[in-house]
Each structure stands twice: as structure tokens, then as C-alpha cells.
Symmetry: C2
């Protein structure tokens, strides 16, 4: 992870993509969001969606996994170059999560991020708070998912 | 589910509680949020949290499951009384999700909800949009988690 000082508003990254299979849509929803249109093809066909769709939380946590994998690859690159990696804290939360379109079984969602704001923290010396818009876009180019996350990022020492 | 007309601002519900074990914290995080303080006790002990903590997304989706279970119990009660149940749509999103305190292994989180706003929809006749604050509180009475969700709810026929 880059240090706070090296992060610029507008920095963007492609995080990778994921194809949602019917089996994993149903397995996730059976555990965490067992609504008929997430767990049962026949019920989903009768719903106004017309087919099985992923839980919105499923779309979100798959994106989270890709964010972490991306961060890890970046840290490996930094290590390979002999550069120090900044620590990040957990997220204090996020705002404006939007599920804009259904994610159907078989859809491939491409996840991306863009830095919106980076502010130093008076209350936590040595750290900054970075706001990032995370998005998911389906294979037809439609934005299906978006939220603005925030995370604490370490400042460069000294 | 009650129809839109029967939902009042201030209506609240206890949704149930959940104890987060170390095993399930690690299993969830290994799949969706593999940060050291979520998947590895030793690394968590060295982090500023001092012990294993649940992924914030894990705290959120366990709450989602309790919301659905609560809705289902309400629908069973309505069926038992011979009353019709209102349909609900998916959620268009939510706002202001906050992870306020860490959830440690062994913590028991009580989830609750309170209706903040209920507005009829001109754009979707027959439906209203209901905003609800969902919270999670630990065994010490500390608020650990909160978000404002929104969901489409059917209006009473006629």
C-alpha cells in the first residue's frame, strides 16, 4: 500500500472481475440473505426480476475480496522494489452504497476504484483518511454497484 | 411483512443476537476479507486491536440474516392470523454504514431496527420506500455497527 502522501485524488485502479454462478449465489444467500429470488430459480422466475439474482451483500463482499487481493499485489510489488509499504487500518464505515441493477447468475462483474478525497487527520497523527469510490460494472457495461469507502492510511515516516 | 400503510416512523424491533466465534470469523474472512487481524490470532494480537476481530462485512451480513428471519417470523404470524402479507422488493442501497467498535471473537451482538422514514412513491404506484436504522450492540451495551437501509414495501391493495 502506498503511503498517504503518495495517494492522489483521481488515482484509479481496475481490481479484477468475478463471474457469479448460480451455485455460489444460492450458497451465499442460503446463509446470509435467504430471500426467494436469491435461493430458488423457480421463485426467482416468478419474481419481477425473472431469474436468479445475487444478494447485494454478495456483490459487495466479492468486491471486498478483490480490494484486498489488489492491495496484496501492490505490497508484493513494493517489496520487490525494496520500498516500504504503508499500513492501513480498518475502515470506519462507508456511505452511499447503491445496488443499481440486478446481478444475474452468469454475469461477470468488473470491479474498480477511484480516490475521491485524501485528508490528513489531526486526531490521529501519522495517519490520513482516504475516501474511495468502488464500483462494479457488468459485461454489458452497466454500473450495477457502487459505494464510497473510507480507510485509515499511514503517513510516510518523518 | 406489514403493508406500507401500517408502518410507522419510530416502530422498532429486536431482531435477535449472534455470538461470533473465532472459527467463523476466520472462515468468513478467509473467503471475503483476508486481512491479518481477521484471519490469524497471532497477527491480530500484534495489531492495534490486540485480538482477533470480525470483518465488518461479516457483522453486516449476520445482521442481514437476522432481518430476513425476523421478516419470515412476522409473515408466519400474519398467516396464522389469516392476514395478507405485503411484498417487499430488494433494497436500492443504504447509507451511512458505520463500524464503531471492533467485534472480538466471543462477542455477542444484539441486532435491532427502527423505522426512520416511510414515503409513498410517485414513480412506482403501489409501493412505498421505507428507511430503517439497523444497529448492532455488544454485550457491554456498546453500539458497534449501524446503517440506514431502504427497502420497497407494497401498499395495501385498493
Amino acid at each position: 500500500m502506498r503511503h498517504f502522501e503518495d495517494i492522489r485524488v483521481g488515482d484509479s485502479a481496475a481490481l479484477g472481475h468475478h463471474t457469479f454462478t448460480a451455485a455460489e449465489i444460492k450458497a451465499f444467500a442460503a446463509r446470509f440473505d435467504p430471500q426467494p429470488f436469491h435461493v430458488d430459480e423457480a421463485a426467482a422466475a416468478r419474481s419481477h426480476f425473472g431469474a436468479l439474482i445475487a444478494s447485494g451483500w454478495h456483490t459487495a463482499v466479492v468486491g471486498m475480496r478483490l480490494i484486498i487481493d489488489h492491495k496484496r499485489r501492490r505490497e508484493e510489488d513494493e517489496r520487490a522494489r525494496g520500498e516500504p509499504s504503508a499500513k492501513t487500518g480498518v475502515s470506519p464505515g462507508f456511505r452511499d452504497l447503491k445496488w443499481l441493477k440486478p446481478v444475474f447468475a452468469g454475469d461477470t462483474i468488473a470491479y474498480a476504484s477511484e480516490v475521491l478525497e485524501a485528508r490528513p487527520l489531526k486526531s490521529r497523527p501519522g495517519w490520513g483518511l482516504v475516501f474511495t469510490r468502488h464500483t462494479g460494472t457488468n459485461q454489458a457495461g452497466e454500473l450495477v454497484f457502487s459505494f464510497i469507502g473510507s480507510v485509515f492510511v499511514e503517513r510516510r515516516p518523518g
